[in-house]
Structures are given as structure tokens and as C-alpha cells.
């Protein structure tokens, strides 16, 4: 079979490797839209912080890794898909046919539609090329404004602080990381950052950016005094890369719509990762989950189905973890509560500790934590196995920090039941 995978992020690479494992000798082409070897965007903040060199961002580290598996890596950007002719047209002019196709084109940053966003000193931080520009364009003491304090904004935040710039964070929402933290948790992260000298402005809208004669930037804010900057880093969200699919007949919503076998509405075309709008474990609906674990699972499950090993995907569980200047935050599933469910909260603002567990009946369906670094994963275990907590729910209601004890007790109970 002639497999073509468009996109060389984690979903694409893992799909290619899985295909190579399932079908030795298959013709596998991995189409990368960037010049570098396949790399992880998640590692870019550590490059900015100068913890690692560029090679440290690469997804695979062994020389000849792709060749050894019969995976051909080509560097092209896809301009159009013609499903009738089973052909991809490249921006550079060439084209290529496929037997089975995986769309793993990821996502790309979006910028708010305000004046000045096209100025040279307004940067995104998404690709290695972006990272190089930010490294070259900042020196200690520079005034940097970070627009957007979502997940990506926050991991960049840490890296910018490590670069010793004077940092101001401007976020439109009423709190930091609004899509992974409730108001309490988001505000605690904001206070933590302020305590470490980062100026955090939430519920603040930038209305325009202009360049002054001295080369510095001025950001106009709604209802507030303007802010001066030497550089602006824009992290105001990402959107699935589906533009090239226009007119192809592929069903799209926010991303490419896929069924539980990672297949699109068109024959022999699948999608995975940030570009795919797939099954959500918690809601049963279809959503884009632009997170690493989803990309990895999508890639594996898609490859299995492409190779004819019909494998249903049980849905991706939303999960995030973040280190904001030493404060670790985590959230899972329905962290903001479930309809008709109940919850338990443990809050210690002074020591920046927070744990909120959401239940539906006696099943854990969501969790949110600040300052938790030990055995965090059991939260996933309990949510994803939907294990009935029974009498152990009361233990968690009395003290949510008993999560590990409750997990072990439930595992033992389940083992006993299975053997009975």
C-alpha cells in the first residue's frame, strides 16, 4: 500500500512508525511542511529558555531513524487535495498520488484582527523559525509583551522570564489559562506570576499596535493606558490547518470531522492530531483537542485503521499540565464540573495548593490541581476507567488528597471482582 501522511508533528510521525511496524515494506511517505527534521512544538519553550539546543526539539534522535523504517520524509507544503484523482498538489508545483492518506497538518496560530499585528516586531511563537527570531530579537532587560495567557502563552511565559526580559502579559479573558483552569485556579496562577515580577493584566483587550519613530512599539488598550514594548509575542490561540481542503469535499467543522475509526467522510482519507475533530471521551461529542497525548493516540489508532486493523477509538480525554514559574497546574476531563454532578474542593491559597474533583454519581469525571506533582496520573486512571468509587467517594469528599489511596483500593477491588 502507498501511504501518504501530510504533517510531520507527533501525530504524523507516530502514524508513520505504526504503519511501518504493522506492514513492513509498505511505501510510506511523510510530508513535512517545514525544512527541519520532524520536531516537537512542545519543546520550543525549552529552546527559548536555552535549556536545550535545536536538536533537543527533534521527535526522534537516532540517525537514520526514518530510513531504517522505510519512511520517506519529504519537505513540501500541500496546496490542494483532489480526492477523485487521489492526488495532492504541492505549493512548489509538484504533485503526488496516494493509496491511503492521513491528514495530520496540525494547527497554526491565529492573530486578533486589530491594526499593527503585521508589524515585524510582532511575533508568533509556534515554529522553530519563530523561536529563532525571538531568540535573536530579545536581550535581557528588553520590554516584551506577551499577548495571550492560554496554555501556549503560559509555557512561552516561563521561557521569556528565563531570557530575563521585562515581561507584561495581556490576556483578554478574566483569568490566566481560562481553558484549563477555573477562576480560582487561573487567578492563583496570575497572583503567583505577579509575585515573581511579571506584570499580568487579565480582562484586558489590545485594540491596536503601532511602531514609534524610535522603533519601539506601543500597544493601545481598551479603557487603560497604553503599554510600551520592544517586542510583542502573540499567543492568542491556534486553529486547525484545514484551508487547503477547501473544495475537496472533506467534511470540516473546527477541524476535519472524523468517525471513531479516524476516517473522514471520503474513502481512504483519515485525520489525526490538532487538525482532527474527533471523539471526546468526556462529552461523547466531537472536538479538536490540540494536545500531545491526543496527537499520539490519534496517530496510532489512525495508522491501525489505515492498515486494515479495525480499531475503534474510545475518545480523547482532555488533559493539560503546565509549569508557570514553578507552580504546577494540571487539569483533566470535565474539570469545570459535570451537568447533574457534584464536586469536592480543597483550597489553600497561601501555599498555592488547590484540588477540585468533579463526579457524576460515584464516577470521577474531571479534576483540576495546583501544586500537585506526585501520582498525578491516577486522576487519569480513575477518570478513564470510569471505575465506580462506591464507598471510596466519601473518603474523597472528606479529603480529596486521598486520591492515590482511593485509586489503589479501587484497583484491588476490581482485581478481586475479576478473579471471582
Amino acid at each position: 500500500m502507498d501511504y501518504v501522511i501530510v504533517g510531520a508533528g507527533p501525530a504524523g510521525v507516530i502514524a508513520a512508525e505504526t504503519l511501518a511496524g504493522l506492514e513492513p515494506g509498505a511505501d510510506i511517505t511523510l510530508v513535512s511542511g517545514e525544512p527541519e527534521p520532524p520536531y516537537s512544538r512542545m519543546a520550543i519553550p525549552y529552546l527559548l529558555a536555552e535549556d536545550i539546543a535545536e536538536e533537543g526539539t527533534h521527535l526522534r534522535h537516532t540517525a537514520g531513524h526514518y530510513d531504517a523504517r522505510g519512511i520517506r520524509v519529504v519537505h513540501e507544503r500541500v496546496a490542494r487535495l483532489d480526492p477523485a484523482a487521489r492526488t495532492l498538489a504541492f505549493e512548489g508545483g509538484g504533485s503526488r498520488t496516494y493509496g491511503k492518506l492521513l491528514l495530520a497538518t496540525g494547527a497554526a496560530p491565529v492573530r486578533p484582527p486589530i491594526p499593527g499585528m503585521d508589524l515585524a516586531k510582532v511575533k508568533s511563537c509556534w515554529t522553530l523559525a519563530d523561536a529563532r527570531q525571538i531568540i535573536a530579537g530579545t536581550k535581557p532587560g528588553d520590554r516584551v509583551v506577551l499577548m495571550g495567557a492560554g496554555f501556549i502563552g503560559c509555557i512561552i511565559l516561563e521561557a521569556l522570564v528565563a531570557r530575563k526580559v521585562k515581561l507584561t502579559v495581556i490576556e483578554m479573558a478574566d483569568r490566566m489559562v481560562a481553558r484549563m483552569m477555573d477562576k480560582t485556579g487561573g487567578d492563583m496562577i496570575g497572583d503567583w506570576c505577579r509575585g515573581q515580577g511579571v506584570d499580568v493584566m487579565t480582562a484586558t483587550r489590545v485594540t491596536g499596535i503601532e511602531e514609534k519613530v524610535d522603533g519601539s512599539l506601543s500597544l493601545s488598550l481598551e479603557g487603560k493606558e497604553p503599554v510600551a514594548a520592544d517586542l510583542v509575542v502573540c499567543a492568542t490561540g491556534v486553529r486547525s490547518n484545514i484551508g487547503f481542503l477547501e473544495g475537496s469535499g472533506i467534511d470540516t467543522g473546527q477541524g476535519v470531522l472524523i468517525d471513531n475509526y479516524m476516517a473522514t467522510n471520503l474513502p481512504d482519507i483519515y485525520a489525526a492530531g490538532d487538525v482532527a475533530q474527533g471523539l471526546d471521551f468526556s462529552t461523547g461529542g466531537h472536538d479538536v483537542h490540540a494536545i500531545q497525548p491526543t496527537a499520539s493516540e490519534h496517530g496510532r489508532v489512525a495508522a491501525r485503521n489505515m492498515a486494515g486493523h479495525r480499531t475503534a477509538y474510545r475518545g480523547s480525554l482532555v488533559m493539560n499540565t503546565l509549569n508557570t514559574l514553578g507552580l504546577i497546574s494540571t487539569s483533566y476531563g470535565l474539570w469545570d464540573g459535570a451537568e447533574g454532578g457534584d464536586e469536592v474542593v480543597s483550597l489553600d491559597r497561601e501555599n498555592a495548593r488547590y484540588l477540585r474533583l468533579s463526579f457524576q454519581g460515584d464516577v470521577l469525571v474531571g479534576a483540576l490541581a495546583l501544586g500537585l506533582t506526585q501520582h498525578v496520573g491516577v486522576l487519569r486512571g480513575l477518570i478513564q476507567t470510569k471505575v465506580p468509587l462506591g464507598k471510596w467517594k466519601k473518603v474523597l469528599q472528606d479529603d480529596p488528597h486521598q486520591i492515590m489511596t482511593v485509586y489503589l483500593a479501587c484497583v484491588q477491588d476490581a482485581t478481586r471482582r475479576r478473579a471471582a
Binding site: 516537537s40 512542545m42 519543546a43 497525548p293 488533559m319 483533566y332 489503589l408 478481586r416
Partner: protein, 158 residues
């Protein structure tokens, strides 16, 4: 023959020798807080369960790692952290549904059981054979069955 840790909670006295040995082997200090194996106590200390990574076949941690910092040791079967590659993103800590990969804020990397390269110090230190290092063939279904039988007997005689 590949070997695995076999844990028999019935024999555990919660002496914490395993945690001490583990932290000394990996961190050079006798400090249970730095251990990769943990004893959990139930019923106010009446029952103790040593708990660590089972080196599961699924290896959620390994697959979730964005930079290939987690690799399986072909000799021991353990999934090991390559410290020089780990960037400390912690995705593995939330991806492991068993909660056995933890973030170490001091090093900025993650830590997990690596079977000490094939000579697990927790098993060597355990005075009651609650932790043993045995042929892997015995640690799958049979182990579960053996454990279940024990707990059932206990329930019947309770």
C-alpha cells in the same frame, strides 16, 4: 528470561526499606520522599501496599513523550528516562494512568522506576520478600490470580 517486580502486599510490613534503597540508588540520599517505589497504607496502617511502575506494555508515558526521552531497555524491559533528553514538560506524568511517573522539581525532569538496570534495590532491601524480582512469565495473569486468591481467603476468614 526477562524479569519483573512481583509485589505481595500481604508480606509488606511498611518498614520503608524499599523506599530508602530506591532513593539511595537513584539520588544518593536515604529519603523516602525521593523514592520511585511508594508504600501506601490502608486501614490506619494495618495494611500496606508497595506501589511502583509495572513497566506496562502499553507504555502511555513513552508514547506521550514529545521528544523520545522515554525508551524501553531491551534487556530489562524497563521504560527508562533519558535525563539528557527530557525537557521536563510533564506530559508523561499526566498520561500515565497508574500515576507512577513523577516530576522532580529539583532536577526539572521526570523520574520513574527503571528496575535499577536489572538489579532492583527495593527487592534486595525488602526483608520480608514482599518485593521480589522474578521471571516475567509469572507476573501477569498468574500474579493477579495469586493476589486475588489471597485477598479472597482473607475476606473469607475475616
Amino acid at each position: 528470561m526477562q524479569k519483573s517486580l512481583l509485589i505481595d502486599p500481604d508480606k509488606c510490613t511498611s518498614c520503608l526499606q524499599c523506599e530508602m534503597a530506591c532513593s539511595f540508588e537513584h539520588e544518593g540520599v536515604f529519603n523516602p520522599a525521593r523514592s520511585r517505589i511508594k508504600i501506601f497504607e490502608f486501614e490506619h496502617g494495618k495494611r500496606a501496599v508497595p506501589y511502583t511502575c509495572t513497566q506496562c506494555a502499553e507504555a502511555w508515558c513513552l508514547h506521550a513523550c514529545p521528544v523520545e526521552a522515554l525508551v524501553r531497555n531491551k534487556t530489562t524491559g524497563a521504560v527508562e528516562v533519558r535525563d539528557e533528553i527530557c525537557v521536563g514538560c510533564k506530559v508523561c506524568t499526566i498520561a500515565c494512568p497508574f500515576g507512577t511517573v513523577n516530576y522532580n522539581p529539583d532536577s526539572g525532569k521526570v523520574i520513574k522506576c527503571d528496575l535499577c538496570g536489572g538489579d532492583p534495590q527495593c527487592a534486595a532491601a525488602c526483608p520480608t520478600e514482599a518485593i521480589t524480582y522474578v521471571d516475567s512469565a509469572w507476573t501477569g495473569y498468574e500474579r493477579m490470580q495469586a493476589w486475588a486468591v489471597k485477598t479472597d481467603t482473607k475476606a473469607a476468614t475475616a
